[in-house]
């Protein structure tokens, strides 16, 4: 995507690459954000639905995925999510890049120990008297699949819906003003923050002569994390004040009214048996 070319990476000098990787990651985040705006306004199955129906339907699926006790059912919901995504211009490749890898990495940290720590019948003996147990394998699979499924569903919602419409839909579905307000602020300032992070990294890097060793790279990252925490609080307040200055009082008013049409009813009706099957098994 050409993001990496923006920062000077020094191939072969691992620790400096850490800084370059973080900058590259932030550039990627911003790039995805622009992408998301285009996607949400483009054609597609989910894009054509009333945001209220979409938010309600996807939340119902997420709840059912959290609830279900069947691995097969969970896998079917994930498959359904992939189908919905593909019909909305959000194909498996994008999902793999933006969710699956990241979620696998995070839950893996928790799921891997579960393989051996959960007591049960040994499937595969390991050194030191440990063994991968059937129950361990099952709970690791549940954990990972559940995280993957819910994250995929959430991403589908966010990528197919302009953010202010998500907020308005949450309000009209009864989420309290305060909750919607916090979400609204978080979303906007996360990008200002990402830009600030990038500036901070590049400003510090430009003041450093030569390469960073491991310790200096870590110190740089820690220092920036501290500064960012302060700035994020500051920015949250600023964005909030600027919204108030223009008449915002916790209720989001938008130009377009939501329209609940036959296809929205069809979407919700189609989800009812799916959710019931998941919950009642």
């Amino acid at each position: 995507m050409g993001e990496q070319s923006f920062v000077h990476s020094h191939p072969g000098h691992g620790e400096t690459d850490l800084v370059a990787r973080i900058s590259g990651g932030i550039k990627g985040l911003m790039h995805h954000a622009d992408d998301a705006v285009a996607l949400a306004q483009g054609p597609g199955l989910l894009q054509g639905l009333d945001p209220r129906a979409k938010v309600a339907g996807i939340f119902a699926l997420i709840l059912a995925a959290v609830w279900t006790q069947s691995l097969v059912a969970l896998a079917l919901v994930l498959a359904l999510a992939v189908v919905l995504g593909t019909a909305s211009g959000i194909g498996p490749r994008r999902l793999a890049r933006q969710v699956w890898g990241v979620v696998a990495a995070f839950t893996g940290v928790i799921a891997l120990p579960a393989l051996v720590l959960v007591p049960g019948e040994a499937l595969l003996p390991l050194p030191f008297g440990l063994a991968i147990t059937e129950q361990g394998l099952r709970s690791a699979a549940f954990l990972t699949l559940r995280a993957e499924t819910t994250a995929t569903l959430a991403l589908l919602l966010v990528l197919s819906t302009p953010w202010p419409q998500v907020l308005k839909a949450l309000r009209s579905l009864g989420v309290p003003r305060a909750g919607v307000m916090i979400l609204g602020m978080t979303h906007r300032y996360i990008f200002v923050l990402a830009e600030t992070t990038l500036d901070l990294f590049e400003a510090r890097r430009s003041r450093m002569v030569g390469r960073l060793d491991a310790r200096a790279a870590r110190a740089l990252a820690m220092g920036i994390a501290g500064t960012l925490f302060e700035r994020s609080l500051y920015l949250a307040t600023e964005v909030h004040l600027s919204m108030i200055a223009r008449g915002y009082r916790g209720e989001v008013h938008l130009l377009d009214d939501f329209r609940f049409r036959a296809r929205d009813a069809a979407f919700l009706l189609a989800l009812v048996p799916v959710c019931l099957a998941l919950v009642l098994r």
Binding site: D34, P164, G184, E238, V239, S242, A245, R246, G247, L255
Partner: protein, 256 residues
Amino acid sequence: MNDCVFRLSEVSFSYKGVAALSGVTLDLPRGRRIALLGANGSGKSTLLRLLDGLHFPEAGRIEALGAPLSAAALADEATAIAFRRRVGFVFQNPDVQLFCPSVFDELAFGPLQLHWPRERIRGAVTRMLDAFGLTALANRPPHRLSGGEKKRVALASVLILDPEVLLLDEPTAALDPQATDDIVTRLETGFGAQAADRTLIFSTHDLDVVARIADHVVVLEAGRVVAEGPTASVLADTALLRRTRLLPAQAIPAVG
């Protein structure tokens, strides 16, 4: 003075114990173009935020448009909507002010929160985009524009409400010379140039900008008002300007 947009008496404000304004007593007359002039940290932004009812004084009182301005007063929905409609505020940093997915939505945001009818909003946004040379950018996300463009969007998104009082925090800070000139020209000839009851209150430390836009100047130093008067007489007082760090320490002829 009867016709004042804001009247402050003995107003003080501090941030977690750091005093930002101390004992400010000030009448800001209607229909004027008022510069809040002061070095960095003199309290300009804080004063503007108090005037816009975003912060409230720890001590002292503020009267805005003839009524007390307080947290309690703004808690009332009707009062708040009326106040936000009549008083507009352009933040110094456009990044905190632009949070909508497109420039069009950004301009529509204020009118929507104030319950304008939809058709009126669409018409007003279209006219405003045109007047500010933003039509080609209407569908772009505001946070990806240049500094000068962001500033224009921020200004347009406030002016669309047609406020009686426009508060601007450092309108030309961080802009290149052409973008500065564009904004200054808009303020010189645009806002309030036709209607005599419009009041412009802006903060700056740039004497050129003061000379071009303001007819009245309030000089701030360390959270206090140290001088006030017609632009020409304040700008002629080089001793004052040097003492308040608005001119370099050595003797250089004053601008304007």
